[in-house]
């Protein structure tokens, strides 16, 4: 398969051309080239996926530097169905975002398209690479482009601050990753993940390996936005242009999770074999905190994109729990859930872009009743809310039932309850906004926080528009349709389960990368249980109830006893205070998170 490197190479080349000709190329040419390249990468990645499916992963060695006597010196793309599938999914979202951009921007030059294509190349490389250092380089490339895209509207305050916070937080994470790589190289003399895994073997994990693991994990969790290293996410997602936020929430954040999973099952599964239980507890602690923190913050927002950003954080908590269960089933659940969540969240960000484009504000209260002008947008928004609550039988539901099953198998019977809370709050918040768009509930907020920030975007243009291009509604509609039907395609979910089973086979990975022998232990598939319907139905009903409470609950508040209400108000207010927008605070929290992960690893995993 000599096309393996093309998903990285073609967009990079096209981006360079776009920059070179940007003073001559008309807008329509830029749009056509960028979208065409996106579609080409979709096709290429789908070919890789088709080739690797049915248990045929392969390693492509750059420049023909194959392993000699089973020692890898060259750089490989190690492509398995999970990596290729992730790349395909990513390319689909990038293409959708590029199509949406045709009408979203009034004026945009080739630089935007070039940045998007470099972003595409970096994410493709990140999904496909088998080399640890390349993983870090693609991480940084993805980062650098993402910082620039966040601050794309460089004349506005929000994007500037969001870009700075994003860049500094993620750079610190990247430096932790570099240090971790250096330590692993010191121990093994290798940079290929399979080679590192083979060299570490099943020797007991000593402090050096544990410190390396903690540094790598906290670095990638920074990108994934796990609490308490998540602060940058809400700032960046809220201020980036809508099509960029689509990619941040839909793929970039999930790639951080992917890296943690990939590193664990290629490198650390051997040395940490005896301590699976303890590592599981540590990761699930992080995941649970993230899921709950995100859920509460999500529901308390009135800035629409910030609301969606915190909803992503809550879902990241579920992903961290799913990976943290350290089982094939948990991994499969995350993979299915990522697809459903990504398509839904992408559509929701696009719809908030529609609202911003039309009404010049994405403040929930400013938009009160405005949805009547755009009924289809409200319908799609509400569908997105229902999907986020994992309503049966959309894609998210299948992911969640796998996660529930994995939690029960792994000895965490309370974890499904956390998932239900996360689904309820994130779905409920979106449904509440849909209701407000229709003019339900009060039009005045209880407090005045955030109003200015939500209105400031696009401040230079004054009047609301009279017209929304149908294309801007069509793209999110198609994505939502995808989020509903992908899980229903016969063979899709069981296929992902088998791919996840192969992904988590530590020895098999080393064998197929270094020796070219493909042999997997048989992987199993599972069925949706009856209680899954009960959980998911309960979460959806809970989301609707929460939305109703958010819309009509204010009179109720007066009847609640002060003693009951006050602690909640103080706690939520305190939580919100922590998101100060001050980069120094964020890095202090980052340090605390890194210390917590490193400390817990050194104490419990030895």
């Amino acid at each position: 398969m000599h096309i393996a490197a093309l998903p990285v190479f073609i967009p990079l080349l096209a981006a360079a051309m776009l920059v070179a000709f940007r003073h001559w190329a008309p807008r329509v040419l830029n749009d056509a080239v960028a979208t065409g390249v996106g579609a080409a990468v979709v096709v290429l990645c789908a070919l890789l996926l088709a080739h690797t499916a049915h248990g045929r992963p392969f390693a492509y060695w750059m420049g023909g530097w194959r392993p000699s006597h089973s020692v890898a010196i060259g750089i490989s793309l190690s492509i398995d169905p999970i990596g290729a599938g992730l790349a395909t999914y990513m390319a689909v979202l990038v293409t959708a975002a590029l199509i949406y951009s045709w009408r979203y921007f009034d004026a945009v030059d080739g630089l935007y398209h070039a940045l998007m294509l470099v972003f595409l190349a970096a994410m493709a490389g990140f999904s496909l690479t088998g080399d640890l250092f390349n993983l870090a380089v693609f991480f940084e490339l993805m980062g650098a482009v993402a910082y620039a895209l966040t601050a794309y509207k460089i004349e506005e305050k929000g994007p500037i601050q969001g870009g700075i916070n994003f860049a500094i937080s993620n750079s610190v994470g990247a430096y932790a990753i570099f240090t971790g790589i250096a330590l692993l190289y010191a121990r093994t003399g290798a940079l290929n993940m399979a080679q590192i895994g083979a060299t570490l073997g099943h020797h007991h994990a000593d402090p050096l390996v544990l410190v390396a693991m903690s540094l790598l994990f906290i670095g990638f969790l920074t990108k994934a936005a796990a609490v308490p290293v998540h602060f940058w996410l809400a700032d960046a997602h809220a201020v980036a242009p809508a099509p960029v936020s689509v990619l941040f929430s839909g793929v970039m954040v999930e790639l951080g999770i992917y890296a943690v999973a990939r590193l664990y099952w290629t490198i650390f599964a051997g040395p940490l074999g005896p301590h699976v239980e303890e590592l599981r507890a540590i990761l699930i602690a992080f995941g649970t905190l993230t899921a709950l923190w995100g859920a509460v913050m999500c529901f308390s927002q009135r800035h629409l994109k910030r609301l969606l950003a915190f909803s992503t954080i809550s879902h990241v908590g579920m992903f961290v729990c799913g990976i943290g269960l350290l089982s094939a089933k948990g991994l499969a659940g995350v993979a299915v859930y990522v697809i459903g969540h990504g398509f839904t969240k992408a559509a929701l960000f696009m719809l908030s872009g529609v609202l911003l484009h039309r009404f010049r504000t994405i403040d929930e209260f400013d938009l009160h009743g405005k949805g009547r002008e755009l009924p289809w947008a409200v319908v799609l928004f509400a569908v997105g809310g229902l999907l986020l609550s994992a309503i049966p039988v959309a894609t998210l539901f299948f992911g969640k039932s796998l996660l529930d099953g994995a939690a029960l198998d792994g000895g965490y019977p309370w974890l499904p309850a956390i998932f239900v809370i996360s689904s309820m709050f994130t779905g409920g918040a979106v449904l509440r906004v849909s209701g407000r768009l229709l003019g339900w509930g009060p039009s005045q907020p209880a407090d005045e926080r955030q109003a200015a920030a939500a209105r400031e975007e696009e401040a230079e243009e004054e009047a609301p528009r009279e017209y929304t291009p149908p294309l801007m509604l069509l793209v999110p509609a198609v994505l939502l349709l995808g989020a509903i039907v992908i899980g229903l395609i016969p063979g899709a979910v069981p296929g992902i389960e088998i791919a996840a089973g192969h992904f988590h086979d530590h020895t098999a990975y080393i064998n197929w990368v270094l020796h070219g022998h493909v042999h997997f232990a048989p992987a199993s598939t599972s069925h949706v249980e009856g209680f899954d319907y009960a959980y998911a139905g309960g979460a959806t009903l809970g989301a609707i109830a929460l939305a109703a409470l958010g819309l009509f609950g204010r009179p109720l508040k007066r009847h609640l006893p002060h003693l009951l209400l006050q602690p909640v108000v103080v706690a939520v207010g305190g939580l919100r205070e922590l998101h100060s927008g001050h980069i120094g605070d964020y890095i202090a929290w980052w340090t605390a998170g890194a210390a917590a992960l490193g400390g817990a690893s050194l104490i419990f995993l030895r």
């Binding site: 250092f133 305050k157 500037i160 601050q161 870009g163 250096a182 700032d235 920030a453 980069i583 980052w590």
Partner: protein
């Protein structure tokens, strides 16, 4: 091999973080970030150092003697390229921040308070 480069690297990483946390000027924040990154150079070079080793350039040398590990040096070069990119981008953002907020103090950047 000496323990010293790693001790210095750990110190740089932590003091750089402290610099970011305590900074009241964005330029200082960004320089502190490069201090954090400098620690990665030291770790990488320290890992590849061989005492008495020469630079790993064998093009016109027939007798191969002890040499330091060239791989980590290449990694450091990549790392430096990344630093140049990120620092340049951040400083450009700091200039914009000064224009729009009229201040370089992170405390005065209040567009994104929750």
């Amino acid at each position: 091999m000496s323990f010293l480069p790693f001790a210095v690297a750990a110190w740089l990483f932590v003091i750089g973080l402290y610099g970011i946390v305590s900074s009241n000027n964005l330029v200082r924040t960004i320089i502190s970030l490069t201090v954090v990154q400098s620690s990665t150079y030291l770790v990488l070079l320290g890992v590849g150092y061989v005492s008495g080793g020469k630079g790993a350039i064998f093009a016109d040398i027939t007798q191969v003697s002890k040499a330091v590990d060239p791989v980590v040096q290449v990694l450091v070069l990549t790392d430096i390229v990344i630093e140049a990119t990120v620092t340049g981008l951040l400083l450009a953002l700091a200039v914009q921040a000064h224009k729009r907020f009229g201040s370089l103090d992170p405390h005065d950047l209040r567009a994104l308070r929750d």
